[in-house]
Symmetry: D3
Subunit: 133 residues, 6 copies
């Protein structure tokens, strides 16, 4: 379900069709995820978003496993079931077990608590890059 229709693979033509094919090949999936199929109503948006996924998640100075952990952590903080599910699966496919996922989430738990505590007390930065001691 979604509030808009999705552009099904069999109905994709032109640029959308070729991006869909590239997504399936790059992500090694037998289907195109809904995330991209809703974007396809606006091919320029789909194209620019897919290019950006490749630029950010592709080869870089951080390894892919770290990036997938950050993806799950951020999606937990922002409350997105879809991305939590997709990127936890990605972590598992890289050999991450329950112990690693729980330790990752313990860090999310710890700092989400401290984040709100510090906001609720208006505590000034006294440590780190922006410290004003």
């Amino acid at each position: 379900m979604s509030t808009v229709t999705i552009v099904e693979e069999q109905h994709a033509t032109g640029d959308v069709r070729s991006i869909y094919e590239e997504i399936r090949n790059t992500m090694k999936l037998p289907f195109v995820p809904n995330l991209f199929k809703v974007m396809a109503h606006n091919p320029a948006y789909l194209r620019a978003s897919w290019e950006r996924v490749k630029a950010i998640m592709g080869q870089g100075v951080l390894d892919r496993r770290t990036k997938e952990m950050v993806a799950v952590a951020v999606s937990a903080a922002n409350g997105c079931d879809y991305c939590v599910s997709a990127h936890t699966a990605a972590l598992k496919s890289m050999g991450c077990g329950d112990a690693e996922i729980i330790e990752l989430m313990a860090v999310v738990d710890l700092f989400s608590g401290f984040n709100k505590l510090l906001e609720g007390l208006l505590v000034a930065s006294d440590i780190g890059v922006a410290a004003r001691r």
Copy 2:
């Protein structure tokens, strides 16, 4: 500044005093961060929180650098200047440069956008652990 007073190190006694000393030693800091100095109005809360910091951020199945990256990413998503500042400094002290920090934040940017897009369209999970295809 903070909405409550902080329990200064020279005024700390008993359990608070010994936790303060442990914090300075463990974190290798010349002072106790405000985060803990506000908690000290409730020594049981300070004690339990510090024990939990050690349990989560100490030795485990994930390396400390990955945990610090997750700390910064989560604090960015939750909007906490204090923790962003403190844990970016921790990353830098481990040798992380601007290129790594920007790549980390690019992942936060990418998924924060997708998180809200998927919510705004009520897109059903079709990939990963919770997929309902």
Copy 3:
């Protein structure tokens, strides 16, 4: 489902009954949405909320379509399925198609990403109303 009972239309009396009728008439609905039926346990809260809905969403300097777009965008950012569903339907009833809704959500995606990036790097404002260049 909800954690409290809802005040059903057939059980509404007095002020709640007349507000319910006004809601159905103004919103041109055959029933009163659950949003208002939970509020009805506190008639003063229901009354004040409904008056405020009319003051904000009624005639003003912005057109209704723009306001409905903002309603969907804000509800996406805040993570509220109920309001996303209700106000996307409102947009569709005004003739908005999938292309418009996707473009609206692309803007939500773009800025939600940038919002968290800027927070995660503590970037100072250098442009606009609050610039400190």
Copy 4:
């Protein structure tokens, strides 16, 4: 500073002027808070918002102190310095000391952490009103 001008008290006329006076009297303040002075560009919005403040924060089934605690806790969770500052001051004027404020914030810390942990693991409700055990 704010992105819009504020309607100063000496420039307020008609309905805005009388609401301003009511705000000062009800809140026992020598000035009208900026929150209301920005709203005054739209007198209907100001009127409806002020009426709603009175309906929600006035006499009811919960005592005022509990409501002020909830106001601070929610503002911490949502990240609003203005409301944290204003309602912590309200708590202090009711005799709340640092120990109470820290205990309040400890609860915010605890649950903000658990909230994100549960989201990040997609844990199903098994306890309470919506349990699906």
Copy 5:
């Protein structure tokens, strides 16, 4: 459902087993909530979290009912169905009825709106602890 397995009560051994028993006894529940059963993959995290729950939610300067109200309010602001469900049930078991829960949520509604309004206009604090009038 959850993205990780849960450590079932019949499979718990050693420290996890004794914490589980303490949780059931303290919370007066016939089973251990999933919140703790996912944590059990990391016994040190489970132990430290449970100790912290007791330190924060146990006897202190605020009464338990106020703390449960804050738990529900914060979980609403952070968007956590699990905690909203669990702690609304706790409130009901203490005699809280629909009228109290709606009044509690009206405060959440009021300040969540004002929180975002003040952010969206960058209104400076002019009242309370951090006022800069």
Copy 6:
């Protein structure tokens, strides 16, 4: 200030230099905003992000003014001072006055409140696209 250095215009070379020039020309600004100057540590990320800004904010089915309103509303909901400041200035440059900005923010206020109320009561959708009446 920011936690990373920014790539100053006079130090930009190659692809970064030409993107900077395009940004200044397209946005009709005498300088490149910090948002892009932090990204420049990763030229592929800068390139992909700028292309996406053009694809989303450029010509489409929604007018630019509506998109700028959504940008401000989303940035208010997500708590980003930088984007609130930048895009409120954009609205003003298009002729938007205080009355329009306040009405926009009134909609943000209204729905941010309702968003959290509905979450805090776990109210089921009964209206709109995802209704389950």
